[in-house]
């Protein structure tokens, strides 16, 4: 936990500096007769953030908070969480190519099979019913077109039917 505390403080310090560097693009000083410039708000708030996260880092060397506690009390959870994050990111990454529907079906299938260890019946019902519900809710009712990628041509007959 102590190491994680320090790493996160360091990451936040880096992030503040990155923000400050970008905020500098607009005036960060006091514009005469008008108050702060456009970059001042993000710049100085990032500066406060930098100061506070630096203090958190320094404090960890003085008082050793959370010593003896583990950041992941249950180490078995790490591969599972990393797996879910990886699957989630992969799902978003393939949406522009294979479309939302196939991506979500693949996501549900993999998640329920390998993380949930469920039976085929439940997996089948959820994997097949979700895209249908999603299509009718988002595309037909709300008129929000979801990205379809290469699968777009398969939807032409459906468009003709519902729009």
């Amino acid at each position: 936990m102590l190491a994680a505390d320090r790493l996160i403080a360091l990451a936040l310090m880096g992030l503040s500096i990155y923000f400050m560097w970008h905020a500098k693009a607009l005036p960060i000083g006091w514009v005469p007769n008008a108050g702060p410039g456009g970059g001042a708000f993000p710049f100085w708030l990032s500066a406060i953030m930098l100061a506070a996260s630096t203090l958190i880092l320094l404090r960890s060397f003085v008082s050793h908070p959370h010593e003896g506690e583990k950041f992941f009390p249950d180490a078995d959870a790490i591969p599972q969480i990393a797996g879910v994050v990886g699957l989630f990111v992969a799902t978003i990454a393939v949406i522009p190519f294979i479309g939302t529907y196939l991506a979500l079906m693949a996501f549900l299938f993999i998640y329920l099979k390998f993380f949930g260890h469920h039976g085929w019946l439940l997996i089948g019902i959820l994997t097949l019913a979700t895209p249908v519900v999603v299509f009718f809710f988002f595309e037909v009712t709300l008129k929000i077109l979801l990205p379809k990628g290469w699968t777009e041509p398969f939807f032409f007959p459906l468009y003709a039917m519902f729009f």
Binding site: A23, G35, F41, S46, S53, L55, I56, V85, F88, I144
Partner: protein, 505 residues
């Protein structure tokens, strides 16, 4: 008595068939979301908000408020049946609710929780009705200087009263405010913090993206880690006898419940406090004033009633500053505020003048939502027992699917879905390292108002910062903010001073 007339007009809005249906739907959805371990009102509102495009604005906000209400009722269900609080707001309910369930009195405990929630909800809605209009009238006198001072005050309450690590709270407030400045500078119109001209950042970062990331993806990751083994569900049989006994028992607790309601309402108004501390305080006070304090924690029905009245009252209380001042009192109300802005309804005193129908429609819908929630809650108890047996992995998969779709729907940009993934992982890690997330979300929602009022006030005085101290109301807020900000320092000093003589003894 003008209030009664306005409220009657409000009922004309909220009692249309569509809105009654919406309240029933919202309350039911909220009850189930609240009853799921790990998911509370804030997760429910974050996940459902992008789907509300389906109904007109007034109904959309009524729907979200009904979900909020239902989730506050539902939180008690998993506290009692699983021993895991549905949300942090229902922590205190586990203290006596779980022992009652283990003694075979789960049905009675659930009825007590529902009735107590109803009492807390009703008393607080009455208080809300009485305070809303006068507070809005006072807020009409606010200029940019007062607005800025008030937002500053809201943030300093997190520092002074939040109870979290002071430095970490400050980091989170600043991070939220900086993220809120991404996009176009509101005064010069120039792009800033677009991170190397990434087009997706020109529109800014929506509060919804952060909320879905933190309360959707982040919450799922947290749940996967903390609740990997499915807990045992207590069965709750509901007999007519329980219902009669429950109501008879509750009748003896008027003092506890009315005290809890009033306490909850006022604690709920404070941005840093809210439903969780309110319910813990109410529980503690009920135990202190009880004739048999030793029975608390072992299945005393009063220990269920006290926190449940307070947490429902607090959720109504936190709506008050959101609606009248435009300053939300909790993350959930911050999302409601964001939702209202999305719909073109700017919360604040002008809302009470320009959108009378909406405001009083919403207030009157709280009365109907409250009544609907208690009835649906008691009627659906057997269904909750069944729903809680649903495996976590199915729930998590569904929430993640909703995160992708809900993130895409409002802006129709995949950029936002990527941000959700990023915020989700970051929020999960930050939460594990004890960084409070509520100030982060609140800061992102309030950031634009804070910057705008600050710069407007300074432009109006040609850059003279004394405007914040020369106007009486603004000066009062500034002094209060300074006191809250100094509180942790004073606390630290006192600890140091009290420690010092110790070695000499």
């Amino acid at each position: 008595m003008e209030v009664l007339g306005l409220l009657a007009d409000g009922f004309a809005t909220s009692l249309t068939p569509l809105n009654i249906l919406i309240v029933i739907l919202g309350v039911t959805a909220g009850l189930f979301i609240g009853a799921m371990p790990g998911l509370g009102s804030v997760n429910g509102v974050a996940l459902v908000l992008p789907l509300t495009f389906i109904v007109p604005p007034t109904s959309a906000i009524i729907l979200l408020a009904a979900i909020y209400y239902g989730a506050m009722y539902g939180g008690a269900v998993s506290s009692i049946l699983l021993g895991i609080p549905g949300a942090s707001t229902a922590v205190a309910t586990t203290f006596d609710g779980r022992p009652m369930a283990l003694q075979g009195k789960a049905g009675l405990a659930l009825i007590a929780a529902a009735v107590a929630s109803f009492v807390g909800g009703t008393i607080s809605v009455l208080l809300f009705t009485a305070f809303a209009a006068p507070l809005a009238e006072l807020a009409l006198k606010f200029g940019p200087a007062e607005e800025f001072a008030l937002v500053l005050l809201a943030f300093t309450t997190f520092v002074g009263l939040g109870g979290d690590d002071t430095l970490k709270t400050i980091v989170m407030i600043c991070l939220g405010l900086v993220l809120s400045t991404v996009g176009l500078d509101m005064i010069s119109g120039q792009p800033r913090l677009v991170f190397g001209d990434i087009p997706g950042f020109y529109a800014g970062i929506s509060f919804l993206v952060l909320a879905i990331g933190v309360y959707g993806v982040g919450e799922v990751l947290y749940t996967i880690e903390t609740a990997r083994t499915s807990p045992a569900v207590s069965t709750a049989r509901l007999r007519m006898r329980d219902l009669v006994e429950g109501i008879r028992e509750m009748n003896k607790m008027w003092k506890t419940m009315s005290f809890g309601s009033v306490l909850g309402f006022f604690v709920g108004m404070l941005p840093a406090a809210g439903a969780t501390p309110a319910s813990l305080m109410s529980y503690g006070l009920a135990r202190t004033f009880s004739k048999k304090p030793e029975t608390f924690g072992k299945g005393n029905i009063e220990g269920v009633a006290a926190p449940e009245t307070a947490n429902n009252a607090a959720s109504t209380g936190s709506l008050l500053p959101m609606l009248t001042l435009g300053i939300p009192g909790s993350p959930t109300t911050a999302l409601l505020l964001g939702g209202m802005v999305m719909w073109g309804l700017m919360p604040g005193p002008m809302l009470f003048i320009e959108q009378k129908d909406f405001v009083w429609g919403l207030i009157s819908s709280l009365y109907t939502a409250n009544l609907a929630a208690v009835l649906i809650n008691i009627a659906l108890i057997p269904l909750f027992v069944w729903a809680l047996r649903m495996p976590f992995s199915v729930l998590c998969a569904m929430v993640l699917v909703l995160c992708i779709l809900g993130g895409f729907a409002p802006s129709q940009k995949l950029h936002d879905v990527w941000l959700i993934a990023g915020f989700g992982v970051a929020g999960y890690l930050l939460r594990k390292a004890d960084y409070p997330l509520a100030p982060l979300v609140l800061a992102l929602v309030l950031g634009p108002l804070m910057e705008k009022s600050f710069r407007q006030a300074l432009i109006s005085t040609q850059g003279d910062p004394m405007i914040f101290f020369s106007r009486p109301l603004s000066a009062t807020f500034m002094v209060l903010a300074a006191i809250f900000f100094a509180l942790p320092l004073l606390k630290m000093l006192r600890q140091r001073l009290s420690k010092r003589p110790a070695p000499a003894e």
